[in-house]
Every structure is written in structure tokens, then in C-alpha cells.
């Protein structure tokens, strides 16, 4: 009598190690793609600054020169030159905003706290709202990637607040401890939970960045028109300080 063989016998393979290796490879690839994306954004922002902004600025000055060189009777020409100068100023500011969103070089040039305070300046200009961040601990020696992530979180949230129809009530605190750095932000209702949780590309990218740093990203709506954002980033044992560059 011949014994039937189990067709699957001897074919069982433990793929745990292979899967773990594959996950590690994919994670590594993801990090490299993220770094490449950041590098491209940085390059693009530099090129925009060095070419477009410089050219627009020089053209605006040229226009201002023409404006001042006009004889007193040339009212119509003065009016039109003044309008062109104003449009160029708007184009420069807009391009700077795009550059800042691509790569927030202000963090490197000014330091995290000053760069965040610079972001708050438009609130003062538009609404007369003075937001004083509550800063505890040294923020200037944070690793660059941490500082950039915190800045971008504030940037995205404030962009949403800027769309508010009434003066936003923004509260912002930054606290550094031995374990990490924590950002807390309270925003008006115009910045909805949906906006901040990924319906916008930048919101989704922000979440990704936080997760990549093994951080925590919590959002809550108090039901009274305010969204609370808490972001915690653990710090490596030896944090690399921000290498400050010339703007």
C-alpha cells in the first residue's frame, strides 16, 4: 500500500524575516524620497528667490526711479507708474509667500521663535491682534528637522486663520523638556478640524512629518468654535542645533 503524500508538506517557509527586511527597505526608500522632495523644494525656493524676486525687486526700483523722475505735470503717467509699482510689490510678496511655503528659510536665518513671530506679524497688521507665544526652554538649538516641522505646523494653521472673517483668537505655546518639544495652538473655528486633518495637501504633509519623527499629533474641537492642536516631537539624545545661514 502506497502512502499518499501531503502536497504542501515541506513547503512551509517562514517569511517573517523577509517581510521585515522588505518593510525596512520600503521605510528607507520613503525617507530617501522625503529627503529628495525637501531638497528639491529647497533648491526651487532658492532659485525663485535669486532670480524671480531679485528681478521683480529691481524692476520695482526702476519703476520707482521713473516715478520720481517724472515732471510735476505728468499726473497720468505718475498714477500709472505708481499702480505698476504697487502691483510689483504685491507680486514680490506673493512670490515670497510661495518661497516660504516651499522651504521656510526664515527658520535658519532668524531662529525658530523669531521666524514664528514673523508669521504672526500679518495678524497684527490685518486685525490688530497681538499674539505673544509662550516660549519655555531653548528653541534655538533644536534639530533643524524639528524646528522646520514646528514652524510648518504653525504656518499651516495660521494660513487657515488668515481666511477667518473676524479677528482670530490664537494662543500659541512652545515648551521644551528633556523628553521633547511640545507645541500647543488654539485656533478659531474658521480653521476646521477637517481642514487640519488632511483635506489640504499641506495638512497631510504635516502629519506625515510628525509621524516620521515618531511624534504625536492630536487635534480636538472644544465645540465652542476653537480647535486645539497639540504636537509633540521627541528629541534625540543629542540634538543637532540649527546651522544658521545668511538669508
Amino acid at each position: 500500500m502506497t502512502q499518499k503524500k501531503n502536497p504542501s508538506a515541506g513547503r512551509i517557509t517562514d517569511v517573517t524575516t523577509q517581510n521585515l527586511e522588505r518593510v525596512a527597505q520600503l521605510t528607507d526608500l520613503l525617507h530617501r524620497l522625503d529627503n529628495l522632495r525637501d531638497h528639491e523644494r529647497m533648491q526651487l525656493s532658492r532659485e525663485l528667490h535669486d532670480t524671480l524676486v531679485s528681478t521683480l525687486s529691481a524692476t520695482k526700483l526702476e519703476c520707482d526711479w521713473l516715478l520720481r523722475a517724472q515732471p510735476p505735470g505728468a499726473a497720468e503717467t505718475q498714477k500709472r507708474l505708481s499702480r505698476v509699482s504697487g502691483s510689483l510689490a504685491e507680486a514680490i510678496l506673493f512670490t515670497r509667500q510661495v518661497i516660504d511655503r516651499l522651504w521656510p528659510a526664515a527658520v535658519q536665518h532668524l531662529g525658530l521663535v523669531a521666524a514664528i513671530q514673523g508669521q504672526l506679524a500679518p495678524l497684527r497688521a490685518r486685525w490688530g491682534v497681538e499674539v505673544k507665544p509662550d516660549v519655555q526652554g531653548d528653541m534655538e538649538t533644536l534639530p533643524e528637522v524639528h524646528a522646520m516641522t514646528l514652524y510648518r505646523a504653525v504656518q499651516e494653521a495660521l494660513n487657515l486663520s488668515a481666511e477667518a472673517a473676524s479677528p482670530p483668537r490664537v494662543r500659541l505655546s512652545l515648551k521644551r523638556s528633556d523628553k521633547g518639544v511640545e507645541l500647543q495652538l488654539a485656533l478659531p473655528s474658521a480653521a476646521t478640524l477637517r481642514d487640519l486633518t488632511g483635506s489640504r495637501l499641506d495638512g497631510a504633509l504635516m502629519q506625515e512629518r510628525v509621524l516620521r519623527l515618531r511624534g504625536e499629533y492630536l487635534l480636538a474641537d472644544d465645540g465652542e468654535g476653537t480647535v486645539h492642536l497639540r504636537l509633540f516631537l521627541p528629541l534625540p539624545l543629542r540634538g543637532r542645533g540649527i546651522a544658521r545661514a545668511a538669508p
Binding site: 521683480l56 532668524l110 506679524a121
Partner: protein, 129 residues
């Protein structure tokens, strides 16, 4: 003409430091039209050398210079005994809160946001000269 001549009847001397050649030259032309005596430098090192000879009363610095941080250049100019009364105006693309950083804030007497508003710039220069 917006430049106020000093007690000896001389027009104020202004040094413009901007790495963008066209912008620096245009600022010189505009300020010269207003009666200032202007010299332009395109990097920090040239500015330090030019300042020794030109002895500007006011320096107009682009904060983002290729070879030197504008803050460092401002401190360098102010530390020169021959220029102890120099007033330094920063031109920067980054909005900065007045109390953002005391140590860097001290480097400059005024801080102007780019793009330069010529009227605002002339008012600042008038108040400093």
C-alpha cells in the same frame, strides 16, 4: 530733495550694501536724486573696506549677503571707532517682530521689509540723518 545737509553744509553719506547689482545701483540713483552722497558695495568684505575710506553716516544693509551675515556686518561696522556714530538700516525679506531677538535687534537702528517702499525709506533716512 530730501537729504538734510549737516552743519558743515555737506550732504549725508550713505553706503548701500546689496549683492544684487541692479538693485544696489538703482538705490544709489534714487538716493542721489534726493541729494545723498551714495556708495554701493556688493558684499560684506567690500563694504568693510569701503566704509573705512567713505566713512558713511548711514549704512543700508541687505541682510542676506553672500559672504557675511548682515547682522555680523552691522556689528563690525559699529565696532569700528572711526564709524562709532554710524546708523544702520536693515533691509530684509523676512518680517520680524520688534522683540523677536534682542541681540540681533541691537545690530540695527531700523529694520525695513523688502520690497523697499522708497517713500518709507526716505522718511527713515531723513529721521536718521
Amino acid at each position: 530733495m530730501r537729504a538734510n545737509a549737516n552743519a558743515s553744509g555737506n550732504a549725508p553719506r550713505i553706503m548701500v550694501v546689496d549683492d544684487h547689482v541692479a538693485s544696489g545701483d538703482l538705490l544709489r540713483e534714487i538716493l542721489s536724486m534726493e541729494g545723498y552722497v551714495v556708495r554701493v558695495a556688493h558684499c560684506g568684505e567690500d563694504a568693510v573696506v569701503a566704509a573705512r575710506e567713505f566713512k558713511p553716516q548711514i549704512a543700508l544693509l541687505d541682510v542676506g549677503l553672500p559672504d557675511m551675515d548682515g547682522y555680523a556686518l552691522a556689528r563690525l561696522l559699529k565696532s569700528n571707532p572711526a564709524l562709532h556714530q554710524i546708523r544702520v538700516v536693515a533691509l530684509s525679506g523676512y518680517a520680524q517682530s520688534t522683540d523677536a531677538d534682542g541681540s540681533r535687534e541691537e545690530s540695527f537702528d531700523r529694520y525695513l521689509l523688502k520690497p523697499v517702499d522708497v517713500e518709507q525709506l526716505l522718511s527713515v533716512l531723513e529721521s536718521l540723518s
